[in-house]
Symmetry: C2
Subunit: 124 residues, 2 copies
DNA sequence: TTTATTATTGCAACAAAGTCGCATTAATAA
DNA sequence: TTATTAATGCGACTTTGTTGCAATAATAAA
């Protein structure tokens, strides 16, 4: 027996799944009904990432954002799409745009975290 | 009269300039001769970034790394090159590889922070 | 050279993100 | 129904980075 399904986990997952944008722990805390301990939420988010249901976005605002994996198969995780953070409305979103990076000779690629800041179409 | 040249600034800048890799504040603190207050060093690094002598790399390890700008002209700052962090030897380096990102319709590009993790040629 | 101005520094206190140990609670297997 | 152990809440903690304030020092002005 490994993971157990709990209401906390389901709550967090539903929030992430129904969100159009990536969310920080703080964002989720605001959206979740009732109380939920910060440490617990981080543990939940970490487990989602471990299990490959959710991916992390490391932002230049000092926060980590979380978003559900959409096109990831069990054995094919590719998070090399671009993330965008609007400097005005603060939306953090996963873009369709994928980047392909030519690694230097002898280097091994493990993961990518590509973030672009600017203004979204509403805020431009 | 705006910026003043001080030995602290010069020390930090020389460390960054002579380093092959990008450095975190902590890295610099270890390299700097004698004592230097953390707040002071951050203020120095921030001023370098403001003045466009140095650019920031936001890493997935929770730290910010700093590296001198090499190909930036006064009016043409382009930091859309890829950064690489080796998961074994922990080197953080600026890669030659530049990424070009097609922004969605109506979006305005401001800055990019593209980080790749993996293993460098020594550690692969 | 001397003085005045103000950028820079050190210090301490603070903020925010995230982690961890531990006792308690609750899913699930037996 | 009971036993097992994952999940939770709590509080303490760590790390990165910032800020107010008084003291110091680089530089402009006299
Ligand atoms: Mn994404
Ligand atoms: Mn760089
Ligand atoms: Zn916007
Ligand atoms: Zn390496």
């Amino acid at each position: 027996m490994k993971r157990r399904t709990t209401s906390s986990k389901q709550a967090v997952f539903n929030i992430l799944k129904s969100s159009e944008v990536a969310l920080s722990q703080d964002d989720i805390e605001k959206k979740v009904a009732g109380e939920m301990n910060r440490a617990t939420m981080y543990r939940i988010l970490n487990s989602f990432c471990e299990d490959g249901h959710v991916h992390r976005i490391f932002s230049d605002d000092g926060r980590t954002y979380f978003a559900v994996c959409l096109n990831c198969k069990e054995n094919d995780h590719h998070h090399n799409h671009v993330h965008f953070r609007c400097l005005k409305c603060l939306r953090m979103e996963c873009l369709k745009e994928e980047i392909e990076i030519k690694m230097p000779q002898g280097y091994t690629f493990k993961d990518a975290n590509c973030l672009v800041t600017g203004y979204c179409n509403c805020c431009s």
